[in-house]
């Protein structure tokens, strides 16, 4: 890898912080005026170790994107508000930091790529200037050095003929190429944590394959810790070692990727896995989870999956199950899986 030497020079010294890179504790996010606010994320806790690739999977309204936006300090407020919890990044609570400190952390320590690269890129600024800007915000570097760096980054993300493409504008790039530019921008300052929110959802399948390949390469060459948000279990299985499943604003299961695909413990995870059509089998009938995802704030007590659950017992209607340890590698928020019987 030709870019590796100079990029790794930029790499920060190994973190002195002993614990996990990111620790989210009891995070709740609500929207709307106090008193009538609706909780879209409730009591979410998880950790991400340095170097890991963790996926959050869930359907629309599960709270997965809100959780990642909260880590970036990007919850629109008002109307949104973090109601409870802590977000510890290398042991420092990001929620306790003054607002003015976040821009410093964003981009340098934590960077994010979004689903729609076109709306995240500035249409009237050249690709080179936009990536250069990301570097300029956080690193002191001369003009020429910075230009070299941008060329290296474009090479890293597989933009052909990077020296010439520096002067191009976003509209001159295809969707896949724009996502590559977004990734170049995100890794420009070697962030410790890269949050990717549905990075391939808007892309065609052959282009998605290219971008997934690129994410593997980023991990290999830069050692970036990855938090991947996706509705697509195929994409999660490709990139991540651990999966967090969210449903109706809560974490319902958290386990390493092989365990979750082989023996899911939460009935929602099981239903989700069974309802995905697979390339391998043509069993013509798909499993369907009955009913619909509840609207935020409509389930006041008990397990949020209770109305749709095939395994429910009386206890589930009354008491909300916390995330219970089933094995050391697997946690599920389910009374039944944890051994309760009616």
């Amino acid at each position: 890898m030709t870019i590796a030497p100079s990029l790794s020079r930029q790499q920060p010294a190994a973190s002195v912080h002993p614990g996990p890179l990111l620790k989210v504790e009891d995070l709740s996010i609500e929207f709307g005026p106090k008193g009538t606010a609706v909780r879209v994320v409730e009591g979410v806790s998880f950790t991400i170790d340095t170097g890991a690739a963790v996926g959050i999977v869930g359907e629309s309204g599960s709270g997965k994107s809100m959780t990642s936006l909260a880590v970036m300090g990007l919850i629109p407020s008002p109307p949104g508000r973090i109601a409870t919890g802590r977000i510890l990044f290398e042991g420092v609570d990001l929620l306790g930091l003054p607002r003015s400190r976040m821009p410093e952390i964003r981009g340098r320590d934590i960077a994010m790529i979004f689903q729609e690269p076109m709306s995240s890129l500035n249409p009237v600024m050249t690709i080179g200037d936009q990536i250069g800007e990301a570097i300029k915000l956080h690193q002191k570097m001369g003009r020429e050095e910075r230009r070299q760096r941008v060329v290296e980054l474009l090479k890293l993300v597989g933009i052909p003929d990077p020296e010439r493409r520096l002067g191009a504008y976003p509209h001159q790039f295809s969707g896949g190429m724009r996502q590559r530019v977004m990734i170049a921008m995100a890794v420009a300052c070697n962030p410790k944590l890269l949050i990717a929110d549905e990075p391939t959802t808007a892309l065609d399948v052959t282009i998605q394959a290219q971008v997934l390949e690129l994410m593997h390469k980023i991990r290999r060459t830069l050692n970036t810790t990855i938090l991947l948000i996706s509705h697509d279990l195929g994409v999660i299985a490709d990139i991540c070692e651990r999966v967090i499943v969210m449903y109706a604003g809560k974490v319902v299961e958290d386990a390493d990727v092989k365990t979750i695909f082989r023996s899911p413990k939460h009935p929602y995870t099981r239903g989700l896995l069974q309802s995905i059509p697979r390339l391998k089998d043509e069993n013509t009938r798909l499993y369907q989870i009955p009913g619909m995802v509840p609207l935020p704030g409509t389930i006041k007590q008990g397990c949020p999956f209770f109305p749709r659950c095939p395994d429910r017992i009386d206890k589930c209607a009354r008491e909300t199950p916390p995330l219970l340890e089933i094995t050391p590698q697997q946690k599920a928020a389910c009374w039944v899986s944890a051994g309760a019987t009616s």
Binding site: D204, V205, T206, A209, D238, D281, N283, M292
Partner: protein, 343 residues
């Protein structure tokens, strides 16, 4: 219905074929041809499409953005007019029908759209939306008859008739797609073009809609042209599959053949690119170089040669015809050979 009379030519069809498409093409050119004073190139959106849809079957049309699959779907319903070719539905050449006769034909062909938000009028109640085709074709006489029929249709698509006076915004995405389906089946069509009907839906809702579409087909016997980019969904719903690239069908055949023995390198790459929800099988992907070229800039010879991993000089020079590689299985490649993809 008075179809096929007069000077409308009937195309000979075998009993099995409901829709017959022959050499259909569509070129879009800018009216006036000038934007900001520059001549706009015409775009060949569909080129030389020939295939059949059998009675009661689902033919899936797959391909990536811009391959012309949606345009082809609209051509079959004459929502846009073909530049050339012949399209017969139940023996009637629809391209030669007068607009009046075509209106009658629309009772037999219907469409389901991807976006249940954009395709339902926000200011009309669900009852009005579903009843619209019934009224256009004079299939209901009284208000009571209309409401009964709407209730019946709502039950068939899994909606409670008590919601018939509500508006689309009061429904979820999956329910809205059910409304779109109820409207499509209201006139008892023989042929439904479904354009990415489940792409905008969550996984668990997608399974519900796919199952519903299959159940309705089983009980009513109509045919689907199922336009999709998701090859896993297609594996579940299709009987046969056609793969499009840059406006052309590059491979077509029975589902099993296409999935187990894809013969065109593009089909092979498409299938190998699908990320499988299984962390324990790392499949070797064929990663294609670059992007799909612009249809305004169609490459010479085989239009796939710019990205093809096995391209030879002949591929740049000569366009390969769609030829049979096995019974009912055709591929347009100079080097087509069945290649099992390790799925």
């Amino acid at each position: 219905m008075g179809l096929g009379g007069g000077d409308v030519m009937n195309i000979a069809v075998t009993g099995d074929d409901l829709v017959v498409v022959r050499d259909v093409g569509k070129t879009f050119s800018e009216a006036g041809g000038l934007v900001f004073g520059r001549a706009q190139p015409s775009v060949r959106a569909v080129d030389g499409a020939s295939f059949e849809v059998k009675r009661g079957e689902t033919l899936a049309l797959v391909g990536e953005s811009g391959c012309g699959k949606s345009t082809l779907g609209r051509l079959l319903l004459r929502l846009i007019d073909a530049s050339e070719g012949e399209i017969a539905i139940d023996g009637v050449d629809i391209l030669r029908l007068s607009s009046n006769d075509m209106r009658q034909m629309r009772a037999r062909v219907q469409m389901i759209f991807q976006d249940p938000y954009g395709s339902l009028s926000p200011r009309r109640s669900v009852a009005k939306i579903i009843a619209e085709p019934l009224e256009i074709f004079g299939l209901v006489q009284s208000r009571k008859q209309r409401r009964d029929r709407v209730a019946e249709l709502m039950i068939q698509v899994g909606l409670s008739p008590t919601f018939m006076d509500r508006y689309p915004r009061q429904f979820s995405g999956g329910q809205r797609q059910r409304i779109g389906i109820a409207r499509a089946i209201a006139v008892d069509p023989q042929f439904i073009v479904a354009d990415e009907p489940v792409s905008a839906l969550d996984v668990s809702v997608q399974a519900q809609i796919v199952n519903l579409m299959q159940d309705l087909q089983k009980s009513r016997g109509f045919s689907y042209l199922f336009i999709a980019h998701d090859l896993s969904v297609v594996r579940h719903i299709a009987d046969r599959v056609a793969v499009m690239y840059l406006g052309r069908i590059v491979e077509i055949g029975p589902k099993r053949r296409i999935y187990d023995f894809p013969s065109h390198p593009y089909t092979q790459a498409l299938l190998s690119a699908v990320p499988e929800p299984d962390p324990e099988t790392r499949k070797s992907r064929i990663i294609l170089k670059g992007d799909v070229p612009s249809p305004a800039n169609d490459p010479t010879g085989c239009s796939f040669h710019t990205r093809c991993p096995i391209a030879q000089p002949i591929c740049r020079a000569e366009r390969p015809p769609l030829l049979e590689t096995a019974s009912g299985h055709l591929a347009a490649c100079h080097f087509a050979k069945p290649h099992p993809i390790p799925l």
